[in-house]
Amino acid sequence: MITVTHYLMLSAILFAIGTLGVLTRKNAIVVFMCIEVMLNSVNLTFVALSRHVGNLDGQIFVFFVMTVAAAEAAVGLALIIAFYRNRESIDVDDFNMLKW
């Protein structure tokens, strides 16, 4: 029998994976994908909890998260492209003009 706990565990794991990805991966796109993973793990949590507590607020929240994620994707990719135009690279190691 699969309980809400399992869902939460799964989403927690996903969230952790996403976080670690952000910390470790160098390719901007991949990093962005990791962030998406984090957001989606949150969505999973919401849905699971919504089912658990028995009202729809959580699921409504998920809709908003998805839209926002979409918007962010648009903006983020645009920024990455702009950067690529100037540096011919999307390696996050190259985001290092501004420091100290």
């Binding site: 949150v42 929240f61 908003f64 962010e72 702009a82 985001f95 003009m97 501004l98």
Partner: protein, 486 residues
Amino acid sequence: MENLVQEAIQNVNLHAVMPSLILTVAGMALLMVAVFSPRGKTTHIAWLSIASLVVAGVVTLAGWNDTQTGFAGSVQLDNFAAFFSMICIIAAGLAILMSDDYLKREEFPVGEYYPLILFTTAGAMWMVSGTDLITIFLGLEVLSVSLYILAGFFRDQQRCNEAGLKYFFLGAFSTGFLLYGMALLYGVTGTTKIYDIAAYVQANPDTTTNIMFVAAGLLMLTGFFFKIAAVPFHMWTPDVYQGAPTPITAFMSAGPKAAAIAALLRVTIICLAGIQDQLTTVFWVLAVLTMTVGNLIALCQKDLKRMLAYSAIAHAGYALVGLVAWNEIGLSGILFYMLVYTFMNMGAFAVLVLIGRRGEEQLTLEGFSGLGYKKPVLGVALCIFLFSLMGLPPTAGFTGKFYIFAGAINEGFIWLAVIGVLNSAVSLYYYLRIMVFMYFKEPQEDFSWVTINAATAVSIVISVAGVLYLGIVPAAVMQFAKMAGL
């Protein structure tokens, strides 16, 4: 069925969102205008957006003292929201004023710029008036997304790209934590409306000992900590502030930050009052860390924008002091302080905008040598802002700090106050150094490129007036802040 719809429609109550609605609509309209106006002509858009801001401001003030709740209690335009909305509006207005000429100088006069600022402001307003985690989240995102764009606005300038990207990635990253926290909070309390959450905690006190609840609350707060640049979530700030277009930096350091603090306050005070003890400790540590790290690193900065970025971090720390106090004085102190900070910091940046050259290369300390003699008026203005940032009477910075520390001391956090004042003593050094270069060094160049245009001048004048007014006769505004306290 129909009466359900009826009810839903009655619940909407557009008054509660009128200001942000105005700005949103204006923003969209201006986007259209921008599309159809000739290339490089943006001044009229600037003035139109100013107008829309004014309207929004008037509407907000008109709603003073009558609390409007809308969208089934997920938005609440109360004094608290109104006060912060005004801060955001002022910030946006000042930013726009100093932008027009700046965009021309940077040879990137693009119309979307102003609507984006309006959207940011609208988002900020949602954020400050949101009483539902969803609305707060939405506001935050609307604000952020448009800020990502603005931060990286000059797409052909690498530093600007980089600023935008860093802001975007880290912002999104922190959003993840925020959301996760919200999700867990929802899971524990079964609702996303913060007043219901408060009620739930009231009803079953054992929640406060529920690890899940505590963790959820803290996770959610980290999202806000990121926005207000509290150590250790501050690291994006210097890079982004330095890279972003100066007016945007100014705006970021005032408006969105104020909004974030507002949301932080509302969520903390209402939902998390149950775990005040734990939180106070967190805030205490964060406040000290933030003040100290910000000031210390600022000590050895050469680039003005970067220096002000670190000083912004430090000031976030001062604001947190009020939150530590967690009493009426401290909290309303934060409101007052954010307003003060808006004026003094944006004023300082306005001067930077004028001094700067294309590509922002001239904003090092040496670049300021002898400014006070070549451009006396600008010099005096900048001095006033700096003295205010130092927290010296008779400027607003002093009254603001006084207000906040008063809160802390009143609550018995003497040592926190001592650390705070010692920090501002440290901060004296780097602010004074700017003046050292402005007045005590011989001019190296004649600042011929500095042309004082009306709009920026106006923004500076407004800031000076604000700083002095809030410094010398702050009673009235303090009264407002008091009324706006949660």
